[in-house]
């Protein structure tokens, strides 16, 4: 298990938002490797609807930062083709919810070409996409869906929760010869026009570095309950864990950082010590990530658990628009706290 890779304060006094950390990672890889280029809707002059490519057009110009038509199948497919010919495209799917119009290219082509070719063809491509809700964007613009993509073999899935990991995971994703789905929650980007958790701004080394794909991090060590989460929910878990210290409860918070590969070892190691687990997942409850974690524990040793497996997930309903409805179903601080306290008390 990896204890947090956060750098010593001295080498990282510079703070960035997650959005800036992502664009910096892309910029540094583009400086290093002329085969890296970016394609997507509104990635050029606009800088990405959620700020993932801000500043890149000025630095690299329109032949390497390319605005596409609204043709996801077309340009994601084009990314795949460029990748099989040795280029390293970073392609943006504006909202993960739009995957419906281009899923064939993603799961039947990007994810399977390497396998179908018996390992002879690689697709070194990054597909980055904005996920998540909490700001009333409704059913078609607020989903997380890492469970959906993780279920399909052949693509890696990474989900940063903070600026340091965001930069390191993007660098690793670009350098990885496999197709990587890079899912950034809009709520962790640190955007000036959306309510933000202070954890969306943090120390980021100026130099290039990687965060290993497939390795979780202990965001906060503890002994009483294992809390496994990712993305924006991870930030909420840390907030709750900080509060609970005052009540004598030490939660161990694990940031998955990657969904595929899933760091099952990290989860089992922690649960092996605490005997109690709460999974906090903003994706839909059933048939997804949280269930996979339960299965992992049950398959390994059901005796590990001294309290029932507990999850705080999005219920099996589409995302509602009205604020009281959306906040009823999101994995909020209140729900997380209740779950941790309840599990700890058993």
């Amino acid at each position: 298990m990896t204890v947090t890779d956060q750098p010593a304060a001295a080498s990282a006094t510079r703070r960035l938002t997650t959005a800036k950390a992502i664009s910096e990672a892309i910029a540094q890889e583009m400086e290093r490797d002329p085969d890296v280029f970016v394609m997507g809707e509104d990635v050029a002059a606009y800088g990405g609807i959620f700020g993932s490519t801000t500043g890149l057009l000025d630095q690299f110009g329109p032949t390497r930062i390319i605005d596409t038509p609204i043709s996801e199948t077309g340009f994601i497919g084009a990314g795949i083709g460029a990748a099989v010919e040795g280029m390293r495209p970073v392609v943006e799917l504006m909202f993960v919810d739009f995957f419906g119009v281009c899923m064939d290219q993603i799961y039947n082509h990007m994810a399977k070409i390497h396998y179908e070719s018996g390992g002879h063809v690689t697709v070194p491509m990054v597909l980055m996409t904005a996920v998540g809700g909490g700001y009333s964007d409704g059913a078609q613009h607020s989903q997380c869906l890492w469970g959906t993509f993780a279920h399909l073999p052949g693509l890696k899935v990474v989900v940063p929760s903070n600026p340091y990991d965001a930069k390191g995971l993007m660098t690793a994703a670009i350098r990885d010869d496999n197709p990587v789905l890079y899912m950034f929650h809009k709520g962790v980007m640190g955007l000036p026009w959306m309510a933000k958790n202070p954890r969306s701004i943090g120390p980021v080394p100026a130099e290039s570095y990687e965060v290993p794909i497939g390795k979780a991090a202990v965001a906060r060590p503890g002994r009483d309950v294992t809390v496994v989460s990712l993305s924006l929910s991870l930030q909420h878990c840390l907030d709750v864990a900080d509060e609970l210290v005052g009540e004598g409860l030490e939660a161990e918070v694990i940031d998955l950082r990657s969904v595929v590969p899933l760091d099952r070892g990290a989860i089992l190691e922690s649960v092996g010590r605490t005997g109690k687990i709460v999974v906090v997942d903003e994706d839909y409850r059933s048939f997804g990530l949280s269930g996979e974690i339960a299965a992992t524990i049950a398959e390994s040793d059901p005796g590990l658990l001294r309290a029932p497996f507990t999850r705080v997930a999005y219920p099996d309903v589409p995302v509602p628009y009205a604020r009281p409805l959306e906040y009823e179903v999101l994995p909020t601080h209140r729900r997380i706290r209740e779950a941790i306290v309840s599990v700890a008390g058993r």
């Binding site: 006094t13 510079r14 703070r15 960035l16 938002t17 640190g190 000036p192 026009w193 933000k196 701004i201």
Partner: protein
């Protein structure tokens, strides 16, 4: 000798209020010339604010604090 950092004019209206959306440094931290120290915004237009000189930065407006163009939002000492 200190250098003042003022809130920039972003919109067409010179009196339009904006906010210091994000401080990227903490009060009293050392900064270098050119270092991006804040992201400020008027409606959805946002820009980076750089430190004009090296020194110790003093933050004079809280995060998400309101400011108009010309307001002194920080000082480099």
């Amino acid at each position: 000798m200190s250098v003042e950092i003022t809130f920039p004019a972003l919109g067409k209206d010179p009196d339009q209020q904006g906010v210091v959306a994000t401080w990227l440094v903490r009060d009293g931290e050392p900064v270098t010339a050119g270092q991006v120290i804040a992201e400020v915004a008027v409606d959805k237009v946002s820009v980076d604010v750089e430190a004009p000189a090296a020194g110790t930065v003093r933050l004079l407006v809280p995060e998400e604090g309101v400011a108009t163009p010309g307001t002194v939002i920080a000082r480099i000492e």
